[in-house]
């Protein structure tokens, strides 16, 4: 049985998984959907823990990084990024 991966990326309000989602992205290796930028205004989950409870497996979390001296107030990329995955079996093509 072949399998395909779905990926969910959540950006949270803090480093804690039980805090609100502020941004998200989805990629569908099954090809059943084609998420794209700006296609949803409501997050798929309220928190990271809600994604865990729905069967998503956490595979990566952004580390906490020390602030560079002189650049303490600089802001740039979304800070608390969490990657989740699901694997789905598919019927092999005959």
């Amino acid at each position: 049985m072949a399998a395909r991966q779905k990926v969910l990326v959540l950006y949270l309000a803090t480093s804690a998984l039980d805090t609100p989602v502020v941004g998200w992205a989805q990629y569908d290796g099954l090809g059943g959907s084609k998420p794209m930028t700006g296609d949803e205004d409501v997050p798929p989950y309220k928190t990271g823990v809600d994604a865990l409870r729905d069967g998503w497996r956490l595979i990566q979390a952004s580390p906490l990084v020390s602030h560079v001296s002189g650049e303490e107030f600089r802001t740039d990329y979304l800070k608390y990024e969490f990657f989740f995955e699901q694997w789905h079996s598919i019927e092999p093509k005959l």
Binding site: V9, Y11, L12, A13, T14, T19, V21, V22, G23, W24, A25, Q26, P35, M36, T37, G38, D39, E40, D41, P43, F73, R74, T75, D76, Y77, L78, K79, Y80
Partner: protein, 311 residues
Amino acid sequence: MGHELGLTTLQMAEFVARGVLAFEGVVPEALNARFLEQLRAPAGDAEKTLSQAYSRLIHNPSIPKISPGTSLPDCFQSGECLHDILNLPVVKGMIRSLVGDAPIFDHHFLHLTLGAGTEMQRTSKAVSQHNHQDSTIDPRQAFDIQLFYFPQAVTRAMGGTRYIPGSHLRRVSEAAIARYQNIVGQEHVVCPAGSLYVFHMGLWHGAGRNQSTQDRYLYKIRLGPNAPQVRLWNDSDLVTQPDSPRPIFWTDPNHKDPVANQLMALEPWFEADTGRLELINRLKLWRYITGDPKADVDYWLTRVENEWGLP
């Protein structure tokens, strides 16, 4: 310095905080119609691909070829649509308030997003544009503006420009943020014909997917300052150091200060800790445009600058 048709202090605070101001329906309909008519003439919309459409549009004299660095007053001739639009009193006052009387032309461009179901669209696979910050990493305190002119009414289905309010002070590298498909609080331009949006150069944005049957046109022009952007608006009501700053945390509900409220309004996507850094960065920009190196709201900068005991 006062300008009758310039921005108000509250509008400037909104621009500092959110990085965007909207001016809906300010361009008269006759001017919108003339602009669109000139773009479509003489061949109309008969091309089969987007590249064919641009092959025609790039030669259209209504959007002239202009060298970067040209002073804006020298860019367009009287009687040209773009001259007339940029010289509308409300538009001229807005530009003057943000980048001065004679800003520097950077570039302009006509964005065309094809409508669904047309022959052109079927050959070019409609997708939305990734979120991005224009140009490249730009660490300046001074800022450029980008005017977005929508000559036709834009519905939600037409995929008007998406933007992330409050993202303009984040220093990122152009499309490095493409992974961020959706952000809480993102907005999509839906507006009447003749609307203008002005963006701080750093505002994250992208074109939406056009799911309507109409082609969508957007004219964009980027302008930079040629002098310090200090108190260029109608600043007669500006107070940067009030005699009695409003209490913080244990607040006073009777203390009304709309400008402070605007500067301190958090966006729903800000991280809990980084949101406070955004306030500090807004206040640094506020100091720049007010020309007051001690300006502050809610003690954010004053607190971290209190180096008591140092010479």
